[in-house]
């Protein structure tokens, strides 16, 4: 018998501190697998957002730069302009990317900066205890929308993958989920495609992951999976919204 599944080399052999059933660990692994697949470990620099995402430096065996909240795309721009031959990716949650960082992500994508953004969307602010996020669904209860997200008060949730796809500078924009094996395998391919865009110098690539936050959803891990299937996917459709052919 030979080993057919092992921890990717770019992922350090340390326990994840994430909550049980949180998908961050899975998403970290998929990114590490893509880095290994293209043999990028020695030329990749990760930029950490703020939130549960901030600890990527504990888990990835690569150079990492910590950015202020929301500013990872701008920080990544600075890095990539100085080091155009290196692979630069950001790893950001929904508050970091779609709230405080909305300006930076839109402009970085619009300029077509040749970086890859990994966007983890779990419809809440995880690290800070479950407040409403820009991607919180209408009616969803959070610690700052205790009566459910109200349209009049808070507006609609953002569909980031579609928004990014509408920008000229974006070469690739997709949304995936990882709540069951079939989706994980699909997501694996899509993450690879996103990094391949950067390797080929095609411009800005973006992958949005629908992710579980059992703790702040007040659910057990397996219930959280059902929420992704039944509530998130209908509003945040999966698919590739833009794929540059040139």
């Amino acid at each position: 018998m030979k080993q057919v599944f092992r921890r990717p080399a770019s992922l350090l052999d340390v326990p994840f501190h994430f909550c049980a059933g949180c998908h961050h660990g899975l998403i970290h692994r998929l990114v590490a697998e893509a880095i290994d697949h293209f043999e990028l470990r020695e030329k990749t620099i990760g930029v950490a957002g703020v939130g549960c995402a901030v600890f990527i430096y504990e888990y990835f065996d690569i150079d990492v730069l910590e950015a202020p909240h929301g500013r990872a795309p701008a920080v990544a721009t600075g890095l990539k302009r100085v080091l155009p031959e290196r692979i630069i990716f950001t790893y950001q949650g929904d508050g970091d990317l779609a709230s405080i960082g909305m300006s930076e992500i839109m402009h970085t994508a619009n300029r077509g900066e040749n970086i890859t953004v990994i966007f983890v969307n779990n419809t809440v602010y995880g690290m800070t205890g479950g407040q409403m996020a820009p991607t919180t669904l209408l009616g969803q209860e959070t610690t700052t929308s205790p009566y459910g997200r109200d349209l009049q008060q808070a507006g609609y949730p953002f569909r980031m993958a579609e928004l990014i796809a509408s920008l000229g500078g974006a070469s690739y924009s997709a949304r995936v989920a990882v709540h069951n094996a079939a989706h994980v395998l699909k997501a694996k391919k899509i993450v690879r495609q996103a990094f391949e865009m950067q390797i080929k110098g095609k411009g800005f690539s973006f992958v949005e992951f629908l992710s579980a936050c059992p703790t702040n959803w007040g659910m057990k891990p397996q219930q959280a999976l059902a929420r992704i299937e039944n509530e998130l996917i209908p509003f945040f459709p999966l698919g590739i919204f833009k794929e540059s052919r040139e």
Partner: protein, 69 residues
């Protein structure tokens, strides 16, 4: 013909692998690990049922499963 090894001390008992295994060869252990949770365990007593499909490992958020085929 396959088998898996589970790092039980790292398992957080989220149960995602349980759902993923098409042959239902993973179950909750009755022995608590040092983190205070009941990890999962591989129960392929009817030897040879595991095909090494690795779906359990693919869905594990904590990368605690290794697979051989």
């Amino acid at each position: 013909m396959g088998r898996i090894i589970i790092k039980q001390e790292r398992c957080k008992s989220c149960g995602l692998c349980l759902l993923a295994c098409p042959k239902k060869l993973i179950k909750l252990s009755e022995k608590m690990n040092e983190q205070g949770v009941y990890p999962v365990e591989f129960s392929d007593s009817r030897n040879g049922e595991c095909t090494g499909c690795a779906l359990c490992a693919e869905v594990c958020p904590d990368v605690v499963i290794e697979v051989w085929r």
